[in-house]
């Protein structure tokens, strides 16, 4: 197969596969956080901080995939 074509397919596959699981993870984190805030509205700000931190960690994994895709595309 033409190397150019393989490169484009690799870039697309990297970003597609790399954002699937972080998306699921972020959804689950948000769900549990919303549930917990609903049960205990007083602790909302602590929960919010923990939620944002956990989402940042999960999003970082998607960002790693994005960086690999960008490096593949631009070099």
């Amino acid at each position: 197969m033409n190397p150019e074509v393989v490169k484009i397919i690799a870039v697309a596959a990297t970003i597609i596969l790399g954002t699937m699981m972080p998306a699921v993870a972020i959804g689950k984190i948000g769900t549990k956080a919303a549930e917990a805030i609903g049960r205990n509205p007083e602790a909302a700000s602590k929960l919010q901080t923990a939620m944002i931190l956990a989402i940042a960690f999960a999003e970082a994994l998607a960002i790693y995939a994005l960086v690999v895709a960008l490096i593949l595309k631009f070099t």
Binding site: S45, T49, L53, A56, F57, A60, I63, L66, L70, F74
Partner: protein, 247 residues
């Protein structure tokens, strides 16, 4: 189309000081540094014991940040001790992200070489991996220094080299390597978000100029703020973890 859109992973060099290359992201980060330094000095001269409106607004912001830090660290004295470092990281990253997408700055540049290639004079500092890696190394170093200062040098590093039993030894080595993983994670999170934002804005501008970038500029304002907040919060949480006494 792909060959002509000027997206570079590495920051473009603008001029050279001897053998040291000055890139456009370095130039903008120097500019922000100058603004902070001079602005901070000038504003601190105007401090009044009974605050005027602007000072009161700043004091409210500092109070909010201190409350947030206190909720993570446990007590107010600790929060005040680490406030300068955390707030500097947060403000520096926020302004470097916002100045990177500032409307006119992207058009200032110089034409270089015989091919009349356009080199922009300013670029988001965080879209340069050097900037983010430097900040990540400084943050993790600060976390370990804070832990060593609070707990004592040997007690802090005994967390990593723990010879009591084989399981603890293994866990300690894992913790040691995870410090380096944290450095990589910090730097790539910030770099990936901001560089991807730049790429997004350029592609949107090349598709539908003037109109398509507008919602993405709002997104980039938001992302710039959130990534700075996350960087600061994670550093704070790691400091809190390193400084906490073992139970």
């Amino acid at each position: 189309m792909t060959g002509e859109i000027p997206i570079f992973l590495k920051a473009e060099p603008v001029f050279h000081l001897g053998s040291f290359t000055i890139t456009n992201s370095l130039l903008l980060s120097w500019l922000i540094l100058a603004i902070f330094g001079i602005g901070g000095l000038v504003l601190s001269k105007k401090w009044r014991s009974i605050p005027g409106k602007i000072q009161a607004a700043f004091e409210m912001i500092v109070e909010g940040v201190l409350n947030l830090m206190e909720s993570v660290l446990g007590n107010r004295g600790e929060a005040e001790k680490y406030l300068p470092f955390i707030a500097t990281i947060f403000l520096f990253i926020t302004f470097s992200n916002w100045m990177g997408i500032f409307p006119v700055l992207g058009t200032l540049g110089i034409f270089e070489g015989s091919g009349r290639t356009f080199v922009p004079l300013f670029r988001s500092p965080a879209s340069d991996l050097n900037f983010t890696i430097a900040l990540a190394v400084i943050s993790i170093a600060a976390v370990n220094i804070a832990g060593a200062r609070r707990l004592g040098f040997f007690k802090h590093f005994k967390k990593f080299f723990n010879f009591t039993n084989p399981i603890n030894f293994f866990v300690g080595i894992l913790e040691f390597f995870s410090e380096f993983a944290k450095m990589i994670s910090f730097s790539f999170r910030l770099f990936g978000n901001i560089f991807a934002g730049e790429v997004l804005l350029i592609i949107m501008a090349s598709l539908l100029p003037y109109l398509a970038p507008i919602p993405f500029l709002f997104l980039e304002i938001f992302v710039g703020f959130i990534q700075a907040f996350i960087f600061g919060m994670l550093t704070l949480v790691f400091i809190a973890g390193a400084v906490r006494e073992e139970h």
